[in-house]
Amino acid sequence: MKKLEDKIINKMYVLETKKTGLSLITKTILFFFFGLSAIFLTQILVEVFFETGSDNVFEILQEDWQVVAKHGVDIIFSLYQEIPKPLILIIFVSFGISLLALLTFIKNFGKIRYKVIALSQYWKKGRNRKTT
């Protein structure tokens, strides 16, 4: 009977190791890949902004606040016209995915921690059993 119980528990740990490992790897890849992509694309956006001379839109901010308030809507409208919209969308989506991966990890941090501790203790015990 003990052999069967050990087999069941071993299968359970194998299953959980694969599941937890895959989950951690997926979240890590999503976070870093999309996070770095968003940063890289933001850099490109800023370069595009300066190359096309769109940065001169902000010169009006040096004026009095009354002038800024009067022409504020026009500034925003012209900015919207000039920025590359697909790029902005991709940046937002990338940041969103990266943030989601991070928040999910933080939310489940306690659970993941217990699982990792239990898994490492089990496999360490297993290795010690084999070497003795």
Partner: protein
């Protein structure tokens, strides 16, 4: 003076497993493996297959532990899972017989057998006997049935024995 170790309940164990304390699953395995194995072994005479099916029951339960209502008793759920495993096993190991005309002719010529309607049989069984029969078919032990029905264990044994005798005494009829 000895201190009694208070074992956690199934509900507490399941809640803790969901929170990540997966090492507690061994309590459930050690507690219920003998019963599930005995249940499957009594219906399947191959020891190795019985052990495989028992493993499947516990692994499937572990995979679905997030959806299980921890307030419900665990044992009937495991028994139900074991029954489903047995059904799938029998379906996958069904022997396929070749169609033989002679068999068909023989079947047509045999007299029809008519089994007694089960409701009619159960009508003759008292409420307590019916309840005890139902619980034993769901996999509860005699002690558990005695606790549920608030009766002595010997009373429960007698109720089940009498119900079975009554069922056995009903014969199948053959129509001419």
């Amino acid at each position: 003076m000895t201190m009694e170790t208070v074992l956690p309940t199934d509900e507490e164990i399941i809640i803790n497993i969901r929170q990540g304390k997966i090492d507690l699953y061994s309590y459930i395995v050690k507690k219920y493996t003998p019963r599930i194995l005995q249940f499957i072994s009594s219906r399947l005479f191959d020891k190795l297959e019985a052990e495989d099916l028992t493993q499947n029951v516990f692994i499937n339960f572990y995979k679905g532990i997030g959806r299980f209502d921890e307030k419900k008793p665990l044992l009937p759920y495991l028994y139900e899972s074991a029954r489903n495993e047995l059904k799938m096993f029998y379906r996958s190991h069904k022997e396929v017989l070749s169609l033989d005309e002679q068999i068909m002719v023989d079947e047509q010529s045999t007299k029809e057998t008519n089994l007694i309607d089960i409701d009619e049989v159960l009508k003759d069984i008292s409420g307590d006997q019916k309840k005890a029969l139902k619980l034993i078919s769901e996999g509860y032990s005699y002690q558990e049935i005695a606790d549920k029905m608030k009766k002595n264990i010997n009373t429960v044994r007698t109720l089940i024995r009498r119900a079975r005798l009554l069922l056995n005494s009903k014969k199948t009829y053959e129509k001419a």
